[in-house]
């Protein structure tokens, strides 16, 4: 069974630029999550989707971050404009029930 796919794996941008990350969950998983992991910290949830609806986005900085999950499968997370403090690994996870399975992440560096 294929795991969670993410792209790109690495991205370097200047502050105030925009960036987008893509995630393809495990086939059949209705729930999809985006996490932010800053170096030396555990992952922090940004947003949870159930199919193509948002369940929890309470920790998403909505002035600069947006996410969508069209057709209830793939998802895109966007940052516009980026700040230095957005440098982190962005992890996508999916689940069928309670256990979440993670992708390899996208490492973002903002200069």
């Amino acid at each position: 069974e294929a795991g969670v796919a993410q792209s790109p794996r690495y991205k370097i941008i200047e502050k105030r630029q925009s960036v987008a990350f893509w995630c393809n969950p495990i086939s059949g998983h209705a729930t999809l999550y985006w996490y932010q992991q800053i170096l030396g910290q555990g992952p922090k949830l940004l947003i949870q989707f159930q199919n193509n609806g948002v369940v929890d986005d309470s920790q998403l900085p909505k002035d600069r971050f947006s996410a969508e999950r069209l057709k209830g499968v793939d998802s895109t997370l966007k940052i516009q404009p980026a700040k230095l403090e957005d440098s982190a690994v962005y992890l996508c996870a999916s689940s069928l029930a309670g256990t979440q399975y993670f992708g390899p992440g996208t490492r973002l560096t903002v200069l």
């Binding site: 969670v4 729930t31 999550y33 030396g40 910290q41 555990g42 992952p43 922090k44 949830l45 949870q48 159930q50 369940v55 929890d56 992890l91 996870a93 689940s95 309670g98 256990t99 979440q100 399975y101 993670f102 992708g103 390899p104 992440g105 490492r107």
Partner: protein
């Protein structure tokens, strides 16, 4: 607010030297406690879920246990390939289908040959 504290932050063991990692937590109502392993440059890899105090689960050299306030990850006779960061996370009961995980900062384990 849910909180997870892991100790120690880092642990160096000789190959074959058994030890335990600690995860202390506070949560309004625990749906599940999760252990993940994370290798450098990779996403967290699922290890165990524990649901109630007294529960234990084992996988190869790892055994996870759960009490009402903490969880332990016991590593028996570790090998160098067990070197990784081990993350603990709690999942509270909440309405509207939220399955949010709150993670600790992790314990970085190094096993020296």
């Amino acid at each position: 607010e849910d909180q997870v504290t892991q100790s120690p932050e880092a642990l160096r063991l000789q190959e074959g030297e058994s030890s335990s990692l600690n995860c202390s937590y506070t949560v309004s109502g625990l749906r599940g406690l999760f252990w993940y392993r994370q290798d450098p440059g990779k996403g967290p890899e699922f290890l165990f879920t524990l649901y109630s105090a007294g529960e234990e689960k084992e996988k190869e050299r790892l055994k996870a246990t759960l009490t009402k306030k903490e969880s332990f990850l016991h590593i028996t006779a570790p090998k160098p390939e067990d070197s990784a960061t081990y993350l603990c996370a709690v999942q509270p009961y909440s309405g509207a289908g939220s399955y949010q995980l709150t993670f600790g900062k992790g314990t970085k384990l190094s096993v020296i040959p």
